[in-house]
């Protein structure tokens, strides 16, 4: 069984031995831990002694009283934070000195235990800290293994989902309060914008589903020889409505048959994303040229548009999740910021490569290579 090392710094021997007695018999277990964790308690009675002790001893947790005969606990805390930043410190303070507790947490204490405390209060404080330490370790371990926990993804995602919701809620409130007056026509824009935000959200959810399918690896992939030219033709057809809306012509140049081992849904997602980007970020009256090439050792899909282009400095960010290049020209183009990251992930499943060439104001070419 693993044991966490605890150092108690308190000038009242009774408290030290009490804590020692309670904790050395206590074990902490959580459903997510393989085995329970016990505690090894050391006692010391002054801040000075604690500092000396810490030179050759690194506890996991320090229970630190503030009122000590020599230097104060809060100053010992500063020392610990400098020398043993990994150690979690719990301040022991009396109920009367809440200010001190706040000060201590501001200066790096993890939490505080108000004195006097019952054995149960001590145990539950230690349980919380143990959980915290355990999770911190696990996170570090997972990060090391390259399985980055996707906190950042989730927080950006929640932002992306919340923004349209807030907008729609705002519009509904305006309608609820009849803020635009009694003329119904005045509400047209409000309704249009709300519908647009709903649509944006739906697209985001669809893209997210694509992304989770790729990442979970749970979806049953059916990789089989397919005629990519056929699928590209179909995908060009699905672009019909948006290409008419934007007055962009899309041309497909391909031999009648290019066979490659793809999962049907995946290649469709790749092509749909590539084509819709080329149309969305195009100029009115622009064109999109899709080129399929069948070489002996690989196939190449390239999509060239006559759109607004991407500056060189923005290209490295392009394939990140939720990345959208924000400028005057893209402001009114709706997008989830997930399309290119999906394209890249899917292409990598086939050991393929994605490259981009672009000139602002002239257009962009995306080139995908899939090795045989």
């Amino acid at each position: 069984m693993e044991k966490l090392k605890i150092l108690v710094v308190d000038d009242e021997p009774g408290i030290c031995s009490g804590i020692n007695r309670i904790l050395s018999r206590h074990m902490v277990g959580f459903p997510f831990m393989d085995e329970d964790i016990g505690f090894d308690v050391q006692e010391t009675y002054t801040g000075e002694d604690a500092i000396t002790l810490l030179e050759n001893y690194t506890p996991d947790i320090i229970l630190l009283d503030n009122k000590l005969p020599g230097m104060l606990g809060i100053d010992v805390l500063d020392h610990i934070k400098r020398k043993n930043p990994e150690t979690t410190v719990l301040m022991i303070t009396s109920y009367a000195s809440l200010d001190l507790a706040v000060q201590a947490t501001n200066r790096g204490a993890h939490d505080f235990i108000p004195k006097p405390f019952s054995p149960q209060e001590l145990k539950s404080a230690i349980e919380t800290v143990t959980k915290h330490i355990f999770l911190k370790r696990m996170t570090r371990k997972l990060n090391k293994e390259g399985k980055q926990i996707r906190f950042q993804f989730l927080s950006v995602l929640s932002h992306e989902l919340k923004t349209p919701l807030n907008a729609i809620e705002g519009y509904l409130r305006i309608m609820e309060d009849r803020q635009a007056g009694n003329d119904l026509d005045a509400y047209d824009k409000i309704i249009d914008r709300s519908l647009l935000r709903v649509k944006g959200m739906r697209n985001l959810i669809m893209d997210l589903l694509d992304l989770t399918k790729i990442e979970s690896g749970k979806k049953k992939r059916k990789v089989m020889p397919l005629n990519v030219a056929d699928i590209a033709r179909m995908s060009v057809d699905t672009m019909g409505p948006i290409s008419i809306q934007k007055d962009v012509k899309i041309y497909l140049d391909s031999p009648p048959e290019i066979t490659y081992n793809f999962d049907h849904e995946e290649i469709e997602i790749i092509l749909n994303n590539l084509f819709s980007n080329a149309i969305k970020y195009n100029i009115e009256g622009g064109r999109v040229d899709v080129n399929l090439e069948d070489l002996q050792d690989r196939i190449i899909i390239s999509v060239r548009d006559t759109g607004i282009g991407i500056s060189e400095s923005e290209i490295p960010r392009l394939f990140g999740e939720f990345v959208r290049i924000r400028n005057e020209q893209t402001k009114h183009i709706s997008g989830t910021g997930l399309g290119l990251s999906i394209i890249k992930k899917l292409t990598q499943l086939y050991k393929g490569k994605v490259s981009v060439e672009s000139k602002p104001g002239e257009g962009t070419t995306f080139r995908l290579e899939f090795p045989r």
Partner: protein, 131 residues
């Protein structure tokens, strides 16, 4: 409806937020001029002196609101500035301008969350304009 002849400059890159907030503030009897970016706002400030400004924090730059606030205060030290943002709710980072020291470097008079209710916003505006 209250009627004040005060002009409020409202800057936010979220089209919907801009529209809604403008409508809200106009309901309270203020004149509202809007800009959709830090750049546009900087241009506007060359020719306009608002009675109060509300800036979104993150626009072209992560700190667009602070930059605008700094520039506005340099030109018109007496114009109150409100910085509105959704950062706190999403990042947990919060920084108010409660203390004198904060006010010095943040250069804003008030810091609000974007979810704030319209009547609350109105109250804050009235307070800052000393109406």
């Amino acid at each position: 409806m209250q009627k004040f002849t005060r002009t409020i400059l409202l800057v936010d890159d979220d089209e919907d937020y801009l529209f809604q907030t403008k409508l809200n503030i106009e309901q309270f009897g203020f004149r509202v001029i809007t800009a959709e970016s830090q750049m546009e706002a900087e241009d506007l400030l060359n020719t306009l002196k608002p009675d109060l400004a509300i800036f979104d924090l993150m626009m072209e730059n992560e700190d667009s609101g602070f930059i605008l606030s700094y520039k506005l205060k340099k030109k018109f030290p007496d114009v109150p500035v409100i910085i509105a943002t959704a950062v706190t709710a999403e990042t947990g980072i919060s920084f108010g301008v409660g203390t004198e020291e904060d006010r010095k470097w943040i250069k804003a008079d008030l810091y609000i969350e974007k979810g704030i209710r319209a009547d609350q916003l109105n109250r804050e505006i009235i307070k800052l304009l000393k109406l």
